[in-house]
């Protein structure tokens, strides 16, 4: 019995040359910034970072499909490339890694990018709630916004993911579940993490259409995500996308991948480099030339330098925020703790 429901087809036009070039420029910017962030950590500019080397296509391709006027993204701790593809303020984004803040974008309602999430699978249910809010708002199908929630193959083991898929399917909530299967949950490979063949395979159990996409092919990821959004925004309920990719670097700047895989394995298992692959395509069909690539990389470098300057200029947040932001309406206990803190640390 074939239980896999089908996705409603998208009739959008194929990507234009301009869009294909833009996807490359975005990936170049993300690669540059990601590599730089690791270096910044080594230089002591930021205390920690979760790299995404090798995941540029999965992140840029999906983030590029987001319509910021109506959709909402629920990231984890590794979605720098999604943020960049959505055109967010990257100094603001990096302030979390700088440890001036641990909330991600300062105003999620404006950026449409929910707070960076350290609890794996923590925000998958939030996406369902937000999406159900779209349904409750009474917007006609077609005008709905969709929520896109990111998580890894490791996070897919969490009960919250299963609750979320079930809720979304029962409620027909416009949610795109975007799994970046980068092969690893820190040191544990996918085959020891995911039962049932794949994360996408599980969707059938919830009656959710699912696609597995080559996560190193930015155009394929974009098209799969665009299709999923079209399906969800038309009131057909959730979609599961599993982008198969590979985390080429460490899990975080504190991780040592040498303890669980060899360099040889890394080279053979990682597959095609997403940037090289897209570059070859653009060259082959004449969409871009060497001058374009050189300019794209120069722009990425300039951008990185500007972001670094912005990060270095970030001062610490005022300590009073610690007390001010707990509640909308503060409590007497917090007020007196804040007063004592001011006095005892001579901040009066």
């Amino acid at each position: 019995m074939d239980t896999t429901p089908t996705l409603v087809a998208d009739d959008a036009a194929p990507l234009t040359h301009e869009q294909l070039r833009e996807l490359y420029s975005l990936m170049a910017a993300v690669r540059q910034l990601d590599t730089a962030a690791v270096a910044w950590q080594r230089q002591g500019i930021i205390p920690g970072y979760a790299p995404e080397l090798g995941q540029e296509a999965a992140q840029v391709g999906s983030g590029y499909a987001v319509d910021k006027s109506r959709d909402f993204v629920f990231p984890t701790y590794r979605e720098m490339g999604v943020a960049r593809a959505m055109g967010l303020d990257m100094v603001g984004y990096m302030s979390t890694h700088k440890a001036t803040w641990h909330g991600g974008m300062y105003n999620p309602l404006e950026s449409r990018f929910a707070p960076i999430q350290a609890v794996v699978a923590g925000s998958v249910l939030h996406a369902v709630g937000w999406a159900h809010g779209q349904t409750l708002s009474g917007k006609p199908a077609g005008e709905l916004g969709a929520a896109m929630t990111y998580f890894g193959d490791g996070a897919s083991s969490q009960g919250d993911v299963h609750e979320a898929m079930n809720f979304a399917a029962v409620m027909k909530a416009p949610v795109v579940f975007f799994i970046q299967n980068n092969g690893w949950a820190i040191s544990v490979p996918t085959e020891r993490q995911v039962a049932g063949g794949s994360v996408a395979a599980r969707a059938a159990g919830y009656g959710i259409p699912a696609v597995q996409v080559d996560g190193n092919d930015v155009a394929a990821v974009f098209e799969a995500t665009r299709n999923a959004f079209a399906h969800a925004r038309s009131g057909n309920g959730p979609v599961v996308i599993e982008a198969m990719t590979y985390r080429r670097g460490p899990h975080s700047t504190a991780d040592d991948p040498g303890r669980y895989r060899t360099l040889d394995e890394e080279r053979t298992d990682a597959g095609e480099d997403p940037l090289e692959r897209h570059r070859a395509r653009l060259l082959a069909d004449g969409t871009a030339d060497e001058a374009f690539f050189a300019a794209a990389h120069q722009a990425a470098q300039d951008e990185e330098e500007a972001i670094r300057a912005g990060i270095e200029a970030l001062g610490p947040r005022p300590g009073s925020e610690m007390f001010d932001l707990v509640f909308q309406e503060t409590t007497p206990a917090l007020e007196s703790q804040a007063a004592a803190w001011r006095e005892e640390s001579e901040h009066v």
């Binding site: 309602l109 707070p115 709630g129 809010g133 409750l136 932001l325």
Partner: protein, 365 residues
């Protein structure tokens, strides 16, 4: 020794807190009816409010608190969810982000545990994380505490756990009047409130005073001024010799104790704490400062319970005037026992009287 709450709970009704009580219309309702009515009015007043949980829709909840609400307000506003507490609370976060005012229910206190991750790591922190741009205007209704001889996990006292979490507020009504008004007030506020309903009191009737001018007006809209008298503790019985501090179902029991103590010439003041976070410290200090002796009574286990917090606040505010250390009469540090042992576990009249005796007979040195 074996008295039960249901057999003896028709305690003297508390003084209504409404400022215009004398002219306001009064109805005798059970707490279940009062809560149902409050939810009905909340749903009518604000289209952004949504009520949901397990069996909340057609059934009206296992305690019937949401009875009839789906039929009246529609399946979009009052709905059944799949049976998954983390799902219910996680979904609430997203709904709040989308501008709704979720009023989720977990069916029984013990089933809030599977949702603790969403409550503690998400609901309690989202305002902070987002620099105040994502307020979590969520009122989580939790049928709470014991006293109904229910199976395991149906009679937990989670107040200290919730009150300890930065970013959450916790309140527990003790009678129908407060249940009605505190629920409306909680829903009108912009922060997450854990609303702990003493399930053993659901069926006890008492006077509910409505606002005189607009008896049925909802208070669910933002910008509504706080209801006078709902934000802190309240003295439900005045006395001179000792203060009993309690919340939830223990308030009625303390009122009974006060009646009995009065026969022996002991004049007991009973303070209903109501808000378990933020705690109304000035009210504690005022009452204990006056009577100079205090006993905290709660159903939860003793160790690291809220009684310790209350005792510290009183000690700090009244150290010089206190005649005795603050006493605690509480549940024990054991998993909530089965029904047959419930009366041994819960603070009963005798144990509370002993507590009073200890503070009255305390001698220094």
């Amino acid at each position: 020794m074996s008295e039960t709450i249901t057999a003896t709970s028709e305690a003297a009704p508390a003084a209504p807190t409404s400022p215009a009580a004398s002219t306001a219309p009064v109805q005798h309702l059970s707490m279940q009816q009062a809560l149902n009515r409050a939810l009905d009015e909340i749903l009518a007043a604000s289209p952004k409010t949504v009520v949901f949980g397990e069996d909340c829709g057609q059934l009206g909840g296992v305690f019937r608190i949401t009875d009839g609400l789906q039929a009246k307000h529609g399946e979009g506003r009052v709905f059944d969810t799949p049976l998954a507490e983390s799902g219910i609370l996680g979904m609430s976060v997203g709904l709040a982000m989308a501008g709704f005012h979720p009023i989720p229910e977990v069916q029984f206190d013990g089933f809030a545990y599977p949702a603790i991750n969403q409550i503690v790591c998400q609901i309690a922190r989202m305002n902070y994380r987002s620099r105040g741009t994502l307020p979590m205007r969520i009122t989580l209704r939790v049928p709470s505490f014991g006293g109904i001889r229910a199976p395991e996990h149906h009679g937990e006292s989670l107040e200290a756990l919730f009150a300890h979490v930065p970013g959450l507020k916790v309140v527990s009504p003790s009678d129908p009047h407060d249940a009605y008004h505190l629920l409306k007030y909680a829903v009108s506020r912009p922060d997450p409130v854990i609303f702990m309903e003493p399930k053993s009191r659901y069926w006890q009737k008492g006077p509910v005073t409505f606002r005189p001018e607009t008896p049925d007006a909802g208070t669910a809209d933002a910008g509504e001024p706080p209801e006078a008298g709902l934000t802190g503790a309240r003295v439900v019985r005045e006395g001179r010799h000792v203060t009993l501090v309690a919340w939830g179902a223990m308030v009625a029991r303390c009122l009974q104790v006060a009646e009995l103590a009065a026969e022996d010439g002991i004049d007991v003041e009973v303070l209903d704490l109501r808000w378990l976070k933020p705690i109304d410290a000035p009210a504690l200090v005022a009452s204990a400062g006056k009577t100079r002796r205090a006993v905290v009574v709660h159903e939860a286990p003793l160790t690291s319970g809220l009684g310790a917090e209350v005792a510290q606040l009183i000690t700090q505010g009244c150290f010089d005037t206190l005649k005795a250390p603050v006493e605690r009469v509480t549940g024990f540090d054991v998993p909530y026992p089965s029904g047959d042992l419930e009366d041994e576990y819960l603070p009963n009249i005798d144990r509370i009287l002993f507590g009073i005796q200890r503070v009255l007979e305390y001698r220094r040195g």
